[in-house]
Subunit: 173 residues, 2 copies
Amino acid sequence: MQGIERRSGCPINLAMEVLGDRWSLVVIRDMMFGNRRHFRELLTRSEEGIASNILAARLKRLVALGLVTRCEDPSHSQKAIYSLAEPAIQLVPVLATLGAWGRRHLPVSEELSIRAQLLEEGGEPMWNAFMDDLRRLHVEDPVAGASGAIASPVLGDLTRAYEAVRARSAPAG
Amino acid sequence: MQGIERRSGCPINLAMEVLGDRWSLVVIRDMMFGNRRHFRELLTRSEEGIASNILAARLKRLVALGLVTRCEDPSHSQKAIYSLAEPAIQLVPVLATLGAWGRRHLPVSEELSIRAQLLEEGGEPMWNAFMDDLRRLHVEDPVAGASGAIASPVLGDLTRAYEAVRARSAPAG
DNA sequence: CGAACTGATTGCAAATTGAAACTGGTTGTT
DNA sequence: AACAACCAGTTTCAATTTGCAATCAGTTCG
């Protein structure tokens, strides 16, 4: 049922077998840029309104593929924490490049594309710093990373810029 | 029926609405790296074995979205030439980055990943040269570009490297 | 004239998607 | 102890999408 088909050994093809659906990269985006680490957070704070069965299926698949890890939240015996694994963290350059392309060629909104713009302008040095931050939040200490106890300078900058644009275009928030 | 849904104005989301299926990027890859410009070429020389109805639907959609253009082939009143439009040409950095990621994290074959490797090592200067080549083959003169009358230095290098690896690993092929 | 080739279309079964309701359990409040 | 709110999903079912195989009408070549 899951895993990939391996229609061919081409890197682009295999990448599309893993990420080539409407939701997988969007879920990874929310975990990465929004630090959304719980099922309910991913479900209800999703800009695009993902359905719960689709989210459950995607998370299960991403865990099986090794892009995401799942652990228990010590604060609540039933709560699960989802974290990005190294392969997903290394998607930062892909998401940066794809975001830059989308910003140029698709009808994006200003508030939702400011982070893509900063990430593009920051270039490789920023991507590397961001990936280091993500390793601290997702790999080294997922529990503290999920709780907000660990700061990420890059994510902080991106989030502040986003909030600033949002406050400007819709002051009532 | 086609066009995008616009679930949100996020660049990543919109990019996935355009490219988030198993075939669109694979078709663009074949046009870009294999210079496959006719329906039958895309259909029968596809490494992954796309079905004819899926290919027809994808081409129609990509044309409607402005990523691909379609024109008639003067050598055959029924033959159509498909060419990459500027937005698709600007996917070169995305494909390069995605290919590099796939090569690192997925079970790729050597012969089908040599081009991804060269494109990654070549970096931005190579991507820019490649995009210039593609503009000559696809935008400036699609007919001559499809016929093989125009040379692309970058594509030539990539193709030779691919043929060399292929000859080495399967001398009879 | 007929075979091969052109870009597709059609019919149909199987798989996937998506919305809404629901499940079984935990936690916090009164 | 009772109850509401919250937790990660699951179930159900209709609609859509996918993939395969066969087919199509027109064109070119021998």
